[in-house]
Symmetry: C2
Subunit: 618 residues, 2 copies
């Protein structure tokens, strides 16, 4: 098949232009008032009636002719005859003549002949007569018909984004349905045999993974004021993919595809677009996001997003979301930005615009430090741990530590974490964090925690087991944890310690060298070597799996549970929770060290309180 | 009935305390992932599986043993045997031995025995063998199982407000349902015989008005993160009111009542609360909002809002919305505030905290001017024309012109209008405004327009007809409009001019003296007096209804349409639109004058362009 060639990557501005040239706008909806909040009016609404619709008493009292009260005061009240009464919601059955008054309640219709009213507090009724102890002018204490809004007046203009206050005005006009801009409908088509929708079973052994993009992009579409429609997952079946693409194009204002990076999926998309639409652009000079496609598919706009979740979200946010907002009639986001200083040096060599997800942390002086959040392009958690994006120009080779950068926040209501911690993964710590206001914790292990603390990034580092180097930092608090070998329930292999891993045929699962548990295990191995008077590496080589280290505290336990190993390194707490056997090898202290610069941060004080509470619980 | 007595007004802080002492919290909902955006997580979510769930190839290429590539480069590639292939979504059916490689695609499962992969670009396949032109280390181009998130890791903490990025993380973990804080349910009970729900017919002659508060407060509840439930309108039937209050209390976390100010409605509410709950507070020292009630009704919290819409909304916003937000688990609004200078002097004498709705306008220096928006407590449009609220302390007697004040905006996305105009009500002007970005126009009439322009508030004033005084302001543009008498279709009374209003028995409807049409009519009356050689007031006195002036340009026409008058002052355009007869009395120029200080505002330039376009259309 011949393909339209796109030799050079388009510039980000060309990509924006291409999307702008497509029409994403939906039509007009008529929605009931109860669903009008936040919607955008398409037409001017004029008042069709007066508000109020009648001359209305503003208070409880007496309706009368103002001229009958002229000169009246406390000393010399006017004396009028009460000829009737009118309550709110009643049609007056009486008129006011000279020398007469009508009892009237707040909100009631002014009777014919009356041109003012006097509040009850300034009157003294006595039988059929009332003394009026003040004088009033015509119109006093009366809200005239149309004083609030008059029939024919311009009430709300086109393009108004309807607030609760506007709903008040619409209610007053009796309007119970309004014409609003239809939300642009955005069809989301995911492809790729390896993707499984959340909630279904995933077969990891076949390389299946959960479909991250569909729900994430759908939520992004709704954030931008669009209506997301998820189409059934197409797999890699070319006919099915084509059928779903055409169906989405027929039903939606915009079709977004994402998922498979397989060449065959791209082939189908290319073919359908070239047969039934037009491809405007393939490839943009941004990182991540290079493989973006922009085109037209029948009457619908089309954007192909990269398959990797972080890339897909960054491209969506940068290029697609603004176009959806515009089509929805929403004002351009006044992108909330924050100025900060780079917490470390970053190098670049791509020659493409870099969209760098970053996290924020406030230092001791209240200044904002900015650090990149990047676990690699296949990672899905990166963005959940990021607060915004720094755009690094293609010609920038590096950002210096301390260099000032502008962070565009993911949304105006992003709050930087109150506490940033890095270090060991631990169940007690997880519970402590649950009690804090808005913490962020990067469970990278004890070693990276120590390194990052030395570099001055986090507020606290959480360290477990022996550390290579000492650090000059105050301890905020600590707790003990019992560690050892997690074995099958009932310990059928009768493992009693490290020696059995060396001497018996047991598949062992270790933790990574960043973990404090691994350091303690290393010390135990060294002890055994000394006792046996052999080299340390002789012991290590004899343990099957010692070199294979997993990253998180439950991972080895899960290998044992899944019958993929006979023993794993872990905590007693994990063994109890997962109903595994446990062979204790000792206990180690988990220490929370605080960055001396951050001692006075409220989040640090909050953590200190939480640490004290667990100390006294024991 | 005996009532719990509240002798003194509570302070605003006491009112906040009283509401805080009530529990508004709902329970826990489990919502599907597609509805999780914006909801607040109630519990920590830990990863139940590794992401990715297997060691995953990051690129297309060859999986192999890293040690087989040691020393390989372009000049001296390693030569390996291709023993199979693995695609994404497939279980590998081959293992990699020494000197072997397996073709692998991005995202596929690494086959057993392989510990690294080489991208296809650095290889030269030839039949059953492949040349590897680079050396790699173990782990290169492989994303290990759990590298993104590992089973057992803390994924999201309690209290997280779920963003699209969090939905990405939840998707990756296969979670399709999350436990979130239930939205607090807020029942809205409206009372008062005179209230009619929008969409139904209102009988103005009986003093009926549309129920403004129900939908408005419901929208406010939803803005604050609650779920609003509108109960059927109770009227003033005491049994029905009691039944609905009890039903709402049984079903909701909070019951809000608003509407009738009648003593009998308050009696019912008092009785029900005292029998089945507790009244904590009656009356708060704020204006507007004094008659607020706070209490408990069975298991539900209860707040009674004032009946007047502006009062109800101000009390809701100040006292109730923050409590709903808190119960919904949303962070306290970082109330968006704007500093501005008072556009005029304001006096106060209530000794209560004043919640003053204000509008904003940017002056020529980019500074914000603040002006009160207040058409009286019965008005409903006030808030639609306001941008925020200034809190004026009870001990403040006045605010000076130019005094600095802090405006708390109604919501963080409030944008002050791009153009503020004051003056004549006119259909051509309404159309011009429709084409502008975000204008605000106060149709108070020509006279107030001129006065406000002299005081320096608006960007432009729109004047029609003869003006008493001249103003030193540049004209931005103008148009002609034909004015005269609007009469019944076919002009059955054969009215030919002002003389017929004087000589015949015709009920006439005038405009207010603020209107430019009234000024032109005044000139016509003066002419007639001169021609007849009589005093002007002789003419005026002879016209039935000359002194009754209505505020908006269509109001007299509507009186004629409704058969309540034989002639009304108005425009040819209005007569044509409403199919009325028209007797021309002349034409008048409508002039747009610009505040010299605001000449360079973009909104002014936009209006000038629009004015030019209508000038060339003619």
């Amino acid at each position: 098949m011949e393909r339209k060639e796109f030799r050079d990557l388009a510039s980000p501005e060309e990509a924006r232009e291409a999307i702008r040239s497509l029409s994403l706008e939906g039509g007009i909806n008529r929605v009931p008032l109860s669903e009008a909040r936040g919607r955008v009016l398409v037409a001017r609404l004029d008042a069709e009636l007066d508000v109020p619709g009648f001359d209305r008493a503003s208070l409880d009292g007496y309706a009368l002719r103002a001229r009958d009260t002229f000169g009246a005061d406390e000393a010399d009240p006017a004396d009028l005859e009460i000829v009737g009464e009118v309550h709110a919601g009643e049609e007056p059955d009486v008129a006011v003549g000279e020398g007469e008054a009508v009892e009237i309640s707040t909100g009631a219709v002014m009777p014919a002949g009356a041109d003012a009213m006097v509040p009850v507090e300034r009157t003294t009724p006595a039988g059929e007569r009332v003394q009026i102890r003040t004088s009033v002018a015509p119109g006093d204490n009366v809200m005239f018909a149309g004083a609030d809004v008059a029939a024919g007046e311009r009430a709300l203009g086109p393009g108004t984004r309807i607030t609760p206050r506007d709903i008040g005005l619409l209610s007053a006009l009796g309007i119970d349905e309004v014409p609003v801009r239809a939300k642009p409908t955005v069809g989301i088509v995911s492809t790729g045999d390896e993707l499984v929708r959340p909630g279904e079973d995933v077969a990891s052994e076949r390389g299946e993974i959960y479909d991250v993009n569909s729900y994430t992009i759908a939520a992004g579409v709704e954030d931008a004021g669009g209506e997301a429609i998820l189409y059934p997952h197409a797999g890699d079946d070319q006919d099915e993919m084509e059928r779903i693409l055409r169906e989405a194009a027929a039903e939606c204002d915009l079709v977004l595809s994402s998922g498979s990076t397989s060449a065959s999926a791209v082939d189908v998309i290319y073919r359908v677009i070239e047969e039934q639409g037009e491809l405007l652009l393939h490839g943009v000079g941004v990182k991540p996001g290079k493989p973006m496609l922009v085109g037209r598919l029948e009457e619908s706009a089309y954007v192909g997003l990269p398959g990797y979740p972080v890339s897909a979200m960054m491209v969506f946010r940068t290029f697609v979301a603004p176009a959806i907002r515009e089509a929805a009639g929403l004002p351009e986001t006044e992108t909330a930005t924050v100025e900060g200083r780079m917490a470390g040096q970053e190098r670049y060599d791509e020659g493409r615009l870099r969209l760098m997800p970053v996290g924020l942390v406030t230092d001791g002086d209240g200044e904002t430090l900015v650090y990149p959040v990047d676990k690699g392009s296949g990672a899905t958690t990166s963005l959940a741990e990021a607060d915004g994006v720094v755009e690094v120009a293609p010609e920038t080779d590096y950002l210096e530590t301390g260099e000032s950068v502008t962070v565009s926040l993911f949304s105006p209501d992003v709050r930087p974490p109150t506490l940033l911690g890095v270090g060991e993964d631990d169940p007690t710590l997880s519970r402590l964090l649950d009690g804090l206001d808005n913490p962020r914790y990067l469970s990278e292990g004890s070693r990276p925690g120590l390194r990052r603390l030395r570099e001055g990034l986090p507020d606290v580092a959480v360290l477990a087991g022996p550390t290579d180097r000492d650090v000059d930092a105050e301890e905020l608090g600590s707790w003990e944890r019992e560690w050892g070998l997690l074995v099958k329930p009932g310990n059928p292999d009768r493992i009693e310690g490290v020696a059995d891993l060396v001497d018996e045929d047991v598949q062992f699962v270790n933790r990574t060298t960043d973990s404090g548990l691994r350091s303690s295990l290393g010390a135990a191995v060294a002890d055994l070597a000394e006792r046996r008077d052999v080299e340390r590496h002789d012991i290590v080589d004899a343990i099957t799996g010692f070199d294979l280290g997993l990253r998180a505290h439950e991972s080895p336990a899960r290998k044992v549970l899944a019958d993929e190993a006979g023993a794993g390194l872990g905590l007693r707490e994990t063994a109890d929770r997962l109903d595994l056997g446990f062979v204790s090898l000792g206990s180690q202290r988990v220490r929370v060290l605080v960055n001396s610069d951050r001692r006075s941060k409220p989040g640090v004080a909050e953590l200190e309180d939480a640490l004290e509470s667990i100390a006294t619980d024991r």
